[in-house]
Symmetry: C2
């Protein structure tokens, strides 16, 4: 079996027609859902690209792998999905974005050359790169955000787009009324068509790369196809730029009460530039149609890929996974971007198609179990025929659900984390870098948000308040729920996360072993153990050494 | 400055005359205490050799570095004291024991050759080995406990001791009345003199190695001199074997109440072979005098080393640290060995001599601050002139205390952990390997012991009950104290332990950087930022690409 592990960056859980969006039709996502299973309660381990992805790619919580924000390197030696799959005879390829930054200092300490196979895998979070393009080719007065080569920019140049950075100048820019560049970085330009042939834009390009990859792939493989879109810059080529208009925009999920004496950390997020932008109707009216157009383009390109798989017979031996690394507030809760724990940000779409007959019973169904992003690594290891190494991978395989079983020991809560130490909010809130961390514990109804740094928690009851307007964290009437969820958080905090060099089987095999290897410190006279353990010490005549005088200079004060 | 970081294995905190032992005179330990500072409340991060040492050698808690029991490999790439010191221009050498097991699988994954400098450091927990000898050369029907070469055994053979393993046959065995070997593995032989010339026994041998090391050492260095003794096998050469008798043994610190319906995990430890042995007076009467003799020998050899340092002027530029990796129950609390959290096991001696004038004010004093073993790595980094990398090293430098200052933000609790998954108790208690873990939180008065796996906690009040006889963990009257200490445990569990690739300075420097590197997703029209950030997007005429027709096959369902 092969695996197409497809990620759309910043795709909200509810911006698919199969998930209920009333105005955005996504027939190809829906088709995969109809042939597979849609998980309706799936949460990322961190609502921001880098740490969320490192959790997907390691199967471990953000504070377990430590790469807790964009650009925080994943520590050298951290075991990845690619390592696990290769151990089980499955190749693991990357096409597109990872947002991985190599631990250059750690690699240097271990003498790992970046251009070796091992070094390259360390630098690409365990993948072999078919084509890696992180898709954020910004540059400014202090240089470029990303120093790597951009295969996508190279492609654009080969197609006649000029300049150093056609990603910025064409794929993510329109043209204004004067014929000048209208950068997609500015929300005011989101309604313009990107100045690029649609087939040259990012989503079709990576889809073509994917087909090109599959055409040549041999053996069992997992391909992580990782689209930058519908992530910002919010601009999309024709015809997608004007498929949707103001009438297609859902009203913002927000309430005046959320602005009334908010929790200080939430308050700081309500005052960010992006939040203040999305609080403006004119921004939402320009951006959301572009966002929807980008998703529509993703859906069309998914259709193209599905057609290819169908035509080549690969639908029969390819598992398909459609998901995202986090959502997008789009003005909900007076916020933009992601970076907090409302459903719009922390919940993601997840659709899994397992081609095997064992999954027939669940086709077209949904599963509302609490799922975490880290479960995918575990699922893929099982798909590759392996056993999930539970001492490393903290997620759980979704195979039982996919095959119509209901595990009786499934998790009671999902955990997500957010480290904002690198953001200006850390300094603005007067926090030490190690205290700028937030944890979410959600049991399907109650959502506790814990803040390091001495703040009170937040609490939402999604049964009574599905829109998460009413923060109950300061309400003494809910102290019991808060205590209960803190109990889960305490237990999680003490989890066995770093004992990564010993499997449970290793441990079981080691039990009692030292005695039979001659470590026998606990014997009074040897009769406590079988004689074969002590016979070597019996009846062996010894030359005497103790009669030697003790040298004077060696004997202090005795 | 140089550092002599001297560790005695399994040396109880209270078996020194400067710490109050009434019958065991240790004038050389006392001399260092008189010239330095003695820390009277120092706790190991795990009361068993391997994980405790990995905490000393990384400056990190046991569940942070993950090598949670003897023989659990320290994960490849874990940053060690040696790495930190070398970064600050100080060599870091090993003489003696570490109990480190290399992460062979991790090293293979990263292509690290064990015989390379980098590979050897990975295999020796970051040290350069002057002489590594882990000192447990047991062998039995299933082979040898330790596969490495034993420099000490090689030395013994060079001195005329015969056989494959003179460590077992001479250094750790006496001779019985028939002239046959009387193995030190059996407690019944603990009163016999080891059948070895005293100067050839382990402690003098490693002391000689240390002097030999110092004689040739150049530049700044830290030498971890790590004696196996007074660790079992409990047998010592003449004249130390009969310096102490039954009259010198302190009565066991134990109470019948401890056997009355004990906590299930403690109860399991009370039933181990070693506990049942030490519950017998005849075992204590044989073993404790040998243990005291081993310590006396350590003291004498320390005197020899101090004389050497004095004679060569090295007392003026050498920091001396005397400590242990854990204690030894010796029958206290009906237990033997270590492996639990009473003071006898988890508290260690710590004496620090700083030769510099800045430490003059504290010479001969004691410090009762709550100190953790991980503080030594931080202290040594400062001694080497470095700044403690708080994103990696979780301990705190002791320099303020040594220099007469009182930090106003010192820790409120010490944490220690114990993972007994590999022991038969795990299976006997019906625990999953990941639940066989215990955590101690101690604030100087109240000691909470938390057990994973669903057990109630234990609680001791050392002010009222300094002998720790009365477990208050099931007493509702102390629920407030239990809650308070659980609050500390929760906070600790969420600590920032794995963000090891980004220092606080790295994070501060990264704040806001992406905007000036061209990542500008949050602009409505660009007026929000200085014009130099957006000027490249203004007034640049563009060739038009959007007029190109969209290829039919690329446009699904639009």
């Amino acid at each position: 079996m092969n695996i197409l592990f497809i990620m759309y960056d910043q795709l909200r859980f509810d911006y698919l027609s199969c998930a209920g969006h009333p105005h955005l039709q996504t027939p190809n996502f829906d088709l995969v859902a109809a042939r597979g299973m849609r998980f309706t309660n799936t949460y990322v381990q961190s609502p921001v690209c880098g740490p969320s992805r490192m959790s997907f790619y390691t199967g471990r919580y953000s504070s377990s792998h430590g790469a807790q924000w964009n650009g925080f390197p994943l520590r050298v030696g951290e075991v990845t999905l690619g390592d696990h799959l290769r151990d089980n005879g499955m190749a693991c390829w990357l096409l597109g974005k990872t947002h991985m930054k190599a631990d250059a200092k750690g690699m240097a300490r271990l003498g790992l050359a970046p251009d070796s196979v091992i070094g390259a895998r360390q630098a690409d979070c365990g993948f072999d790169a078919w084509t890696r393009d992180d898709g954020l080719w910004g540059s400014g007065p202090d240089g470029s955000y990303d120093q790597k080569r951009s295969p996508y920019n190279e492609y654009l140049k080969s197609q006649g787009y000029d300049g150093d950075n056609p990603w910025a100048d064409y794929a993510n820019a329109g043209v204004d009324e004067n014929g000048d560049m209208a950068s997609g970085w500015m929300f005011q330009n989101a309604d313009k068509p990107a100045n690029i042939r649609e087939q040259d834009s990012e989503t079709p390009w990576l889809t073509s790369e994917t087909i090109r990859f599959i055409e040549q792939a041999e053996g069992d493989w997992c391909a992580h196809v990782s689209f930058i879109k519908p992530h910002w810059p919010y601009i999309v080529p024709a015809p997608y730029h004007n498929l949707y208009g103001q009438q297609d925009i859902l009203p913002p999920v927000r309430h005046e009460a959320e602005l009334d004496n908010p929790h200080p950390v939430l308050g700081a997020y309500q005052e960010t530039r992006v939040a203040e932008a999305f609080q403006q109707d004119e921004v939402r009216n320009k951006v959301i149609p572009a966002y929807m157009g980008l998703i529509k383009q993703c859906d069309d390109q998914l259709g193209r890929l599905l057609d290819y798989l169908e035509d080549t017979g690969r639908m029969d031996d390819t598992m398909i996974v459609l998901t995202s690394d986090h959502g997008d507030y789009l003005g909900d809760h007076w916020l933009g971007e992601k970076d907090f724990f409302h459903e719009a940000a922390v919940k993601i779409p997840l659709i899994v198609y397992d081609p095997r007959a064992v999954a027939d019973a669940t086709r077209g169904t949904t599963c509302d179990a609490l799922v975490e992003a880290i479960d995918l690594s575990a699922t893929f290891i099982e798909a590759a025929g392996g056993t999930v190494p539970g001492h490393i991978v903290e997620g759980r395989s979704l195979m039982p659900w996919l095959h119509g079983q209901t595990p009786d020991d499934w998790r009671e809560v999902v955990i997500s984390e957010y480290d904002f130490s690198v953001t200006p909010r850390c300094a603005a809130l007067g926090l030490d870098a190690r205290d700028a961390r937030i944890f979410m514990v959600f049991d399907g109804r109650w959502k506790l948000i814990h803040f390091e740094g001495g703040f009170r928690p937040m609490l939402f009851d999604l049964e009574i308040d599905p829109n998460e307007f009413t923060d109950l964290g300061a309400d003494p009437a809910h102290a019991d729920q808060i205590d209960r969820l803190y109990g889960h958080l305490t237990h999680w905090g003490l989890r066995m996360a770093q004992r990564v060099t010993m499997s449970d089987a290793d441990i079981a095999a080691a039990r009692g072993r030292s005695l039979r290897r001659g470590i026998m410190p606990f014997l009074v006279d040897g009769s406590e153990v079988p004689p074969e353990l002590t016979e070597k010490y019996r009846g062996r005549a010894r030359q005497l050494f103790t009669d030697e005088p003790v040298a004077e200079e060696l004997s202090h004060d005795v």
